[in-house]
């Protein structure tokens, strides 16, 4: 990926789409080839993939370009208690701007979606159902194909946050049936500053554009403008060319490994981690107990040690964990904790890393005299 980036800058740094000269054509070709690859990786066509900065820009693009046209006063928007802020705050803002109301699907004790509550809300014909493919705190993998099918029958448009799913398992947006699917490059070995929004073609075509500017227009007159075809309609201005190409390189790497293998490794290490860490005094983890119902992350707390303090102690042992609310404050409130620590496992993690984390937790217990 780093190679792809510096290759881009040193060899064909030039603006895509605009230039006739050779440098411009190479950059355009590489950018569009990357769009092809990334689209195939998540199971869609290139023309349905809009490059964005990341999941947050993706959901906000839907908020502005779909929501402001399609959502009206009194409409119901549905999200869930396990969402990342990027799949909550845009809908709060959309509800405020339009006079719609926002309701949350609650959770069961083991951190899954409350199916009865979801059914009940679907019975009220919501305009939007926004749900994570996999939770960045609980790890829960939701049956998004089933949710999308039910939502469609209820007349709702679906937004699936795939930020935590795309890096960890095979994803096929077309068979899933989501209207919109969002993800971030930096979580899947790609660069920061790039991600994708997949949309159903007919939905993308009906939408308002998002940013106004270069590239997204066909013609600009003094009193109005006409729009370019999708996905270009949503990619105004100079796009993040180098990072889009970098994301293509990351996808090549993951495809070569095989996402089925990545998924098997993920479940195996989660299983080992849950078994191992549960033996540490004061350790409590969140989300499903069954590793096969989870992906990627294991959030936990240790005795009365604040996660922030725990991270500082583990950092000294060379163990990097994230601590805090993980951009999921509503979930934190539901779990009734101010914060949590989170170990993220990926293809480069081995059982030895889990053992090192266990030793680190034991050391923290010593420092805090637990």
């Amino acid at each position: 990926m780093i190679d792809a980036l510096s290759d881009y800058y040193s060899r064909y740094n030039s603006n895509v789409h605009r230039s006739v000269h050779t440098l411009g054509e190479e950059a355009t070709a590489a950018y569009e080839a990357s769009r092809e690859k990334v689209a195939r990786f998540v199971g869609t066509k290139a023309q349905n993939l809009v490059f964005v900065r990341g999941t947050t820009e993706a959901t906000n693009l839907v908020r502005f370009a779909w929501g402001h046209r399609s959502v009206h006063k009194g409409d119901l928007l549905v999200t869930t208690l396990m969402e990342h802020h990027s799949n909550i705050v845009p809908w709060q803002l959309l509800a405020q701007a339009t006079g719609a109301r926002l309701e949350f699907v609650g959770l069961t004790q083991d951190g899954k979606l409350d199916a009865a509550k979801l059914e009940a809300l679907l019975g009220q014909s919501p305009k939007l159902v926004a749900v994570a493919h996999s939770s960045n705190v609980l790890g829960t993998v939701n049956d998004v194909a089933d949710i999308c099918a039910k939502a469609r029958r209820a007349g709702a448009t679906t937004v699936v946050d795939g930020a935590q799913a795309v890096p960890h398992m095979p994803v096929d947006v077309e068979s899933m049936g989501a209207d919109f699917y969002a993800f971030s490059g930096h979580k899947m070995l790609g660069p920061t500053g790039i991600g994708g929004l997949v949309g159903k073609k007919e939905v993308l075509e009906e939408m308002e554009p998002f940013h106004g500017g270069g590239e997204m227009i066909k013609e600009v007159f003094l009193d109005h403008s006409t729009w370019n075809d999708v996905p270009y309609k949503f990619e105004a201005g100079t796009v993040n060319i180098a990072d889009a190409i970098g994301l293509g390189a990351a996808v090549d790497y993951l495809s070569e490994l095989g996402m089925d293998r990545v998924r098997r490794h993920d479940v195996a290490i989660l299983k080992y981690a849950i078994e191992t860490l549960q033996r540490v005094k004061g350790f409590r983890f969140y989300g499903p107990a069954d590793p096969a119902a989870r992906a990627g992350v294991l959030s936990f707390n240790l005795a009365d040690i604040h996660p922030h303090d725990l991270a500082t102690i583990l950092d000294e042992e060379g163990i990097a964990i994230r601590s805090g609310h993980h951009c999921a404050q509503p979930l934190m409130k539901w779990l009734d904790i101010p914060a949590a620590s989170r170990a993220s496992f990926y293809l480069y993690n081995s059982p030895e890393d889990v053992d090192a984390l266990k030793a680190g937790l034991e050391r923290a217990n010593e420092v805090f005299k637990v």
Binding site: V16, H17, R18, S19, V20, T22, G24, E25, T28, A29, E32, Q47, E215, I217, K218, E219, N228, D229, Y232
Partner: protein, 139 residues
């Protein structure tokens, strides 16, 4: 082939003296499109005659030598052909007209603009939509 070879006598001649340039008094088909990259524009009008034949055809537009010459050449080729013939038309036919296929991705769009407009118009007239044409691609 040298790039400058693209601008052979032939293309230059069609660029400076376009055949079938202008508009028709009466026509049955009209279509228009632009290539947002360079602002090339092509507009085609067709008068449909006996047996769904292209009785008369005119194009107008502005843009680079390649887009205007290829549109002009295409109108010459199309005149007298049945509308169904337009469905068979492929980019190779255009390259043959121009005498080159060595254009590079963004100039190819210029070369194919006339064909895109012709297909859009004829498919619309035949009531079958223009899904079969090359996608427009980025601007």
């Amino acid at each position: 082939m040298s790039t400058a070879d693209i601008y052979k006598e032939l293309i230059l001649d069609y660029y400076r003296n376009p055949r079938n340039f202008g508009t028709l008094q009466t026509f049955d088909i009209e279509a228009h499109d632009t290539n947002p990259l360079c602002g090339d524009e092509v507009d085609i009008q067709i008068k449909v005659g006996e047996g769904h034949k292209i009785e008369d055809i005119r194009f107008s537009g502005k843009g680079c030598a390649i887009s205007q010459a290829s549109a002009s050449m295409l109108t010459e080729l199309a005149k007298g052909k049945p509308l169904e013939w337009v469905k068979e038309l492929s980019k190779e036919d255009i390259f043959k007209l121009l005498g080159t296929s060595d254009l590079g991705p963004s100039r190819v769009k210029c070369a194919l603009l006339g064909m895109k407009v012709l297909k859009t118009g004829v498919y619309g007239y035949l009531g079958s939509g223009a899904e079969g044409t090359e996608p427009a691609g980025p601007s």
